[in-house]
Structures are given as structure tokens and as C-alpha cells.
Subunit: 238 residues, 2 copies
DNA sequence: GATTATTTGTCCGTATGTATA
DNA sequence: ATATACATACGGACAAATAAT
């Protein structure tokens, strides 16, 4: 390292590590050499290496686990949002394995927000589907979906069987549907979401609220999906 | 409250409060009566009211501050993302007052990510602008922007004077620019962002990484903006 | 600056109804 | 029928943060 170059040693080390990670020297989820090992290589004190690692951990590029080591954060999956947003397609396109399972379901009266989004009267019967979707076996998103109950009588069974909203809707004559609007916010994961998504307490979820409409423009689904914040990056092309 | 109606008391109270908020009995940012007061009105124990408030707080409808009271959450500002995303326009359109100020700036060599996004060689000179944008005086987003240095020599001064990226770019002959791609993720706010955005420790930020291009399609800006998670809702129309 | 009142947060507990094995 | 677990509802005491005096 260049001592006295006007750039702090720990910054130089951080940038070197960042470059190595970007270049693939340390792949995603790989373990970095121990702090002592790195200190030896860079010929600096271990604390200088720690400062560099701390800076990269703050950016969520590294993840330091006491007693285990320091790891390169796993690359978040790209989740493009557009007119035709389909979980299975998005995941498959990235050569990963999609999966979905039913957590719970119920039939209930639509509250104000759901009614507005589905364009029905408050109190109308709606089917609520609680689902968990995974990528390569790792849970990615926990979603709550509402559908007009009269139009989709066998929806729960169809989803439980196929693990796919798209396929379940196909069985009810919905050959195609498109996304009208997506609203994105973020918050700390609730206890239930944290458990289903295997997140530590205090972890962050990206919340996506979306309305899907059929070919005639009628709303058929309102969904509130909670994505594990560090496992996804939502992409909007404009 | 209807005891023994098959619905737990705290749920009934929560739904009553939710309805009152929706109806405008308690406007945004208004203070609710104290827990003791509400317990008296509903003729239940204070803990039962707390349970109801807790449920609504989990949904970010209420916000309870120890020693101050319980408040209706302020409605998050809608932040539509599209080809022509302009902070000032978005805020003004919602009849609110936009503001921007320069936090810091520097000229530096582009790192790998910035170079790739701006379509230049790593190490090329770039201007880095650290800005803070507010709505009605409340800080909303803390952004870091990079611009090719040779093309925008007086950019820092222009932004410091106008408080607007759009206006600063106009002075450099950019009559119009459009957004190419936006990548959205979420994480816990770092110490610096938390301070500038007046966020409590552990609060959540929405991170938006975006590339803007000029009329000829050349990248002119790469920006990483951190939005206070509970003060904004990003809207994607498709 | 110190004091006090107000308000929410966190404990301790008791009792009861409901669902389940 | 019995036992167990769980959610609900209530009561009280105190801590911690805030606002007003």
C-alpha cells in the first residue's frame, strides 16, 4: 500500500477489496481471508484492515460474522418490473429455480384499500392468499394477494397445486394479465415476515403493492409483496 | 365495544381507529388521545388499547413516541418514476415545496461501477455531488451524483446556487435529459444518512440507483439516492 | 437548570375462553 | 373426559422519554 499518498491506508485497502470482488477474485458468498491474513498481505495492522472491512460492510458489500469469518454478500437477484411481471419468468430467465407455496388463505370482506384497488365495494367478498416464493430454495418474497371471490372460486386449490398465480389464474380463464401500477416502499420486517423469509430481527423488507388487470382492464388482483431487502434489486426500465 | 361477538376486542378497536383515520376524524400527523383516554372511552383496559395501537403501528398507520403520544403517520409522498423524473416537478405537482442544498462535492477518479454506468473509462475524472433534498422543509432524500468532469466544469457552483440538478445542467446546455434505468433496493440507514435525514437509528432507506442520459443517449449522470423509507412511496406506472 | 406532570414502554401477575392432542 | 397450549383481557407497578412549569 502507498503510505503517505494522501489517501488513508484503509481507504486504499477498501478500494482494492472492492475491485477484487468486482473482478471476481472473491465470488459472491465466498469467504475472505481472515483479518490477520489480510493484514499480513497488505503489511498493515489488523485494525487497518478492520476499518476497510467495516466500510464495505456498511455498504452491504461484505458481511462479517463473529466467529465465522468475513463473506462477500450474495448478489441480489434483479427483479424487473413492467407490464408483464411474472415471478416465475423473472427467476427462470436468470437461470435460477423458482418456487412458491401457500402459507394461508381465507375469504373475507374487502377493506377500504383493497376495495379501492380492485374497483369493488368495501365489504365485497375477496379471497386472500398468503404465499411465500423462493429462488433456489431461498425464500425471496412473502406476498398477500386479494382476488374478487365470485370470479375465482377454486383459486386457493389451484395455487396450492401449481405454486404459481399465473397458472392458477389460467384455470379460471385468464389467458393473460398485465400490471397497472406498482408502489414501492420499505420498512423493517414484521415478526411474521422475518420468520418466513429467514431474516434476522431488524432486517429490511422492500414492499411492493401492485394491481393486475385482465385483458379488458378489470382489476383481478391486488398484491402486497414483501421482498427480503438484501436479496433483491428491483429494476425499472423507462 | 361488543364483548363476545366472536371478534377480539383489540381487533374491533383497531378497526374503529382505522375507520376514524380514513374518515378524517384524526388527520395525518394528528395526535391521538392518550392510551388512558382511549381506554376510558372504549371501556377497556389500557393494554387492550395498546394491542390495537400496536397492530396499526405495525402497518405504519400509527406511530407511537414514548413521552409524546401516538400520532397518525404522515402520508408518504408519491414519487413517480419514469422517463422524465424531476424531483422539483414531482414535489410541486403535489402542492408541496421542494428544496435542495449542497452537502459536499469533490472531483475524483471514477470507480468501476460509476465508470460503467457513465460509459467512461475507470479512473476518468468525475464530479461527485452530495446533495440533500427536502419537501416542505423536511428532508426526504440524500443523494450522491456523479457527472463526467470535463463536460460540466461549473456544475458544483451552479447547483449550490439553484439547488436543482435540472437547472444546473441547463446552464451546461442540457435542455432535456431522460432516465434510462432505475434500480431500487432497501437497507438500514448508515450513520451519515440517518443524521442528514433526521432518522432514528435503525431506520430504513430506499436506495435508488439511476442513470440519466442526454438527448443523444450519452450518460450524463449516475445517482444513488437514499430516501427516508417512511416518507416516500415510489410509484411505477406500466 | 431543576421539578413535575404526562405519556408510552416494559415488566410482573391473574383469570378465562378456545382449540387441540 | 382430560390435559395442554395459546390467545385474550385485565390489573398494577415502574422505567424512560418528553413537555410544561
Amino acid at each position: 500500500m502507498d503510505r503517505g499518498a494522501g489517501v488513508a491506508l484503509w481507504r486504499q485497502i477498501a478500494e482494492r477489496l472492492r475491485a477484487d470482488i468486482a473482478a471476481g477474485v472473491y465470488p459472491h458468498n465466498a469467504r475472505l481471508p481472515s483479518e490477520a491474513e489480510l493484514a499480513g498481505r497488505f503489511k498493515v495492522n489488523r485494525h487497518t484492515v478492520r476499518r476497510a472491512i467495516g466500510a464495505l460492510a456498511e455498504e452491504n458489500i461484505l458481511r462479517a460474522d463473529r466467529g465465522r469469518g468475513t463473506f462477500v454478500a450474495s448478489r441480489p437477484i434483479d427483479y424487473p418490473i413492467g407490464r408483464r411481471t411474472r415471478f416465475s419468468e423473472i427467476v427462470s430467465r436468470q437461470k435460477r429455480q423458482p418456487g412458491g407455496r401457500l402459507v394461508a388463505s381465507s375469504e373475507e370482506g374487502a377493506d377500504i384499500l383493497v376495495a379501492e384497488k380492485l374497483g369493488i365495494a368495501p365489504g365485497s367478498r375477496v379471497i386472500r392468499l398468503e404465499t411465500l416464493s423462493a429462488v433456489d430454495g431461498v425464500p425471496l418474497t412473502r406476498a398477500t394477494s386479494w382476488f374478487p371471490a365470485e370470479r375465482f372460486p377454486g383459486l386457493v386449490a389451484a395455487y396450492a397445486e401449481t405454486g404459481s398465480i399465473t397458472k392458477a389464474l389460467e384455470r379460471h380463464g385468464i389467458a393473460d394479465y398485465t400490471r397497472l401500477e406498482t408502489r414501492i416502499s420499505a420498512r423493517v420486517a414484521g415478526a411474521d415476515d422475518a420468520e418466513h423469509l429467514s431474516l434476522p430481527p431488524g432486517a429490511v423488507v422492500l414492499v411492493s403493492e401492485a394491481v393486475n388487470i385482465d385483458a379488458e382492464g378489470n382489476p383481478i388482483q391486488f398484491a402486497r409483496a414483501r421482498f427480503a431487502g438484501d436479496r433483491v434489486q428491483i429494476v425499472v426500465e423507462s
